[in-house]
Symmetry: none
Subunit: 403 residues, 2 copies
């Protein structure tokens, strides 16, 4: 069902909806011990599964392994094939930069030029993060271009994000990275001729000229290239689409960034640990009606192949599920954005465990929250974009379709 | 998910993928004895199902009974609604004719003309195959048209296939069969005016003129009609789409023909029996990375209403599953192209039993490969076109979608 139709059915209400995400939740067997969910002791999740309708979701499509960006868009109800996020936008989201309509974000790679001005290292010798951070500040303090704001944020090592903000900028601009060493960095050039793209190129080429001057004495990061240049187009927000007033209680910048796309109020501080996240949830409980809570470490340990780590995160977080229930939410959805099986040390395509709880959810016979038990779930395997409509329905936030 | 997106995610690799098709695999109950799969003893398929993720697929759409052409396109990942194969193309595929871009295939029906030149029998008295074959050779030896190659192949009884090959031919031409007796055969006429269609009509009308002369003394097949005239447009191949190097080990011409459409190397000889097919698989194992193996008789016996025949084919083929596993493929998919329940004596719309095996497939709790057991499968019911993406994913041949 398209987002547009769900939006037309959405009605205001007072119910409170909680989306609780264990990043990379789904797994596969680990040497006969089952998945992390199967091996962990998670009595509160099991109880919630008992009271819920359960199953799996497919974030993007059968067989497709999603990145975090598209996987979260799907959880938030946006078709990730329709709303594809460019690399520059993702980089800006990753540092939680508050993008506005018309902004032009890009990814910066520092690089090293030889005395002839040719690229000798496309990653500036993979300079450490302290050095990358210092160089980006040096740049930020010296760059000056009339009529355009230039925002610079360090990301990691040799990588940074830039956002141009100004009137009438275009975003259809080719990368300036020639993709090989031994060549000079390219000038910014439009992929398609237009006054807006020309204006952006003019700004970027002046930026590149100044950057080269400012960085010329750096031993490694004496130049930079721009990639994934893109015009930012905001998504329709939860407010517009569903009369929801959502907030995001995530720890990592990337997830704050993606939830900002959906129009969520970002909780910026005091949520480093799960305990702090839940305390924050309690604190802002009266101020919002949709709460996105994001646990990162299930994914991180999965990517590291750390099966014990995944089990311990699940077991540590489990008691907080009871605390959330005590707040009396009308709807709770617990799932992941994708699977990250620790034997694979990567995201995967496997369907993601899912439960949806409400007073009227029609519980199935499942009494445990794990991959094997959920095979009997009443939801079957649904698309990720169906989770939000189901949450709205269970929260009595959707009216009838047709008379 | 569209084929285009999967194609963009596809990466080269060394994994080996096997698609093992029992034609017409799915069934329904036979007088309380269950389906053929339920009644047969297939320990190797059961073991493979135990180690696999299982479920069903729908080749075209819910409720739709597919022909063999669209059903196989779906198995090969082509949307059968988007890639519709004309009747002429199907007839040429059915005799495994190596169609090239720009060819114009058509189906030939021999017919009988009365002394006034009107059709008295649209199927030439259903002449036996030996006679049909003799007449087509007579025709092939005598027809001569400048500037165009004319390929003629007998199919069965009164049916044959023709392929025109030449520069600048069109394919939007109406049938020459008037559909009733008592009328003269029609001349070839374009459905839409164009120089290319005009050229084809000119060739076809000269062909019809010569054919009438050559066949005039035949007692039954003294003329022919042309149907399903079509311009052949090749499909994008597995090589282009997925970096796969596929081969087809099928027995019947039709299935060789359809796999040729996907760019598969066709094994042409030495595969009459299943044992010979598996020996051939072993022989070419190092030369390819995608292997399509096609067992026809499950379907033939289904169409005949021969329940015992279906059971015996399944039991005869079952041990070869173990031999395939011994080769160490990374991914095995076992399924059918459609269901052919023997009580119905025809293809049907029923979801088709499916298993997908790999080291990381996330097996479900199913331990038998049959319609009843697979209801508990972890795949649920997926679309036929999702099988190839899942095989690629399990073979680590798809990269992440988005960052």
């Amino acid at each position: 069902m398209s987002m547009e139709v769900i939006s037309q059915l959405a009605i205001p209400g007072t119910s409170k909806l909680v989306l609780f995400i264990f990043d990379g939740l789904g797994g596969i067997d680990n040497d006969g011990r089952g998945s992390a969910l199967e091996a962990a002791s998670v009595p509160n999740l099991d109880q919630l599964a008992t009271d819920s309708v359960t199953g799996f979701h497919i974030p993007v499509a059968v067989g497709v392994t999603p990145g975090s960006g598209p996987a979260h868009l799907s959880l938030f109800g946006y078709d990730p094939l329709k709303y594809q996020i460019g690399r520059g936008v993702l980089e800006a989201l990753g540092v939680n930069f508050p993008l506005q309509k018309g902004d032009v974000p890009a990814r910066i790679n520092f690089c090293t030029l030889d005395p002839e001005g040719k690229i000798s290292d496309r990653r500036a010798g993979r300079i450490p993060s302290e050095e990358g951070s210092r160089v980006i500040e040096k740049l930020a303090g010296a760059i000056q271009i009339d009529g355009v704001e230039i925002h610079l944020r360090h990301v990691k090592e040799y990588r940074a994000a830039m956002v141009l903000r100004g009137e009438g900028l275009g975003g259809d601009i080719a990368d300036t990275d020639p993709q090989v060493t031994g060549k000079e960095p390219l000038a910014a050039a439009p992929k398609k001729k237009s006054p807006a793209n020309d204006k952006t190129c003019e700004v970027l080429n002046e930026f590149l000229r100044q950057a080269r001057e400012i960085l010329k004495d750096e031993p490694k990061a004496n130049m930079l290239t721009l990639r994934g240049i893109d015009l930012f187009e905001p998504l329709p927000s939860f407010q517009e689409l569903y009369h929801l007033n959502p907030t995001s209680i995530a720890v990592y910048p990337m997830y704050k960034g993606v939830s900002r796309l959906a129009g969520m109020t970002i909780q910026e501080e005091g949520q480093e640990t799960t305990e702090e996240q839940i305390n924050l949830l309690k604190k802002v409980w009266d101020d919002f009606d949709y709460f996105f809570i994001h646990i990162k470490k299930t994914d991180s340990y999965g990517e590291d192949g750390n099966f014990e780590g995944r089990i311990s995160v699940l077991e540590e977080v489990d008691p907080y599920i009871a605390q959330i229930r005590e707040l009396g939410p009308d709807v709770i959805a617990v799932t992941g954005d994708h699977s990250t099986p620790s034997p694979m040390k990567s995201h995967s395509w496997h369907p993601v465990p899912l439960l949806i709880y409400s007073e009227c959810c029609r519980p199935d016979t499942v009494q445990q929250f794990n991959e094997r038990a959920l095979l009997q779930g009443g939801l079957g395997t649904i698309h990720g974009t169906s989770i939000l409509p189901l949450m709205l329905a269970n929260g009595k936030r959707l009216t009838k379709f047709g008379a």
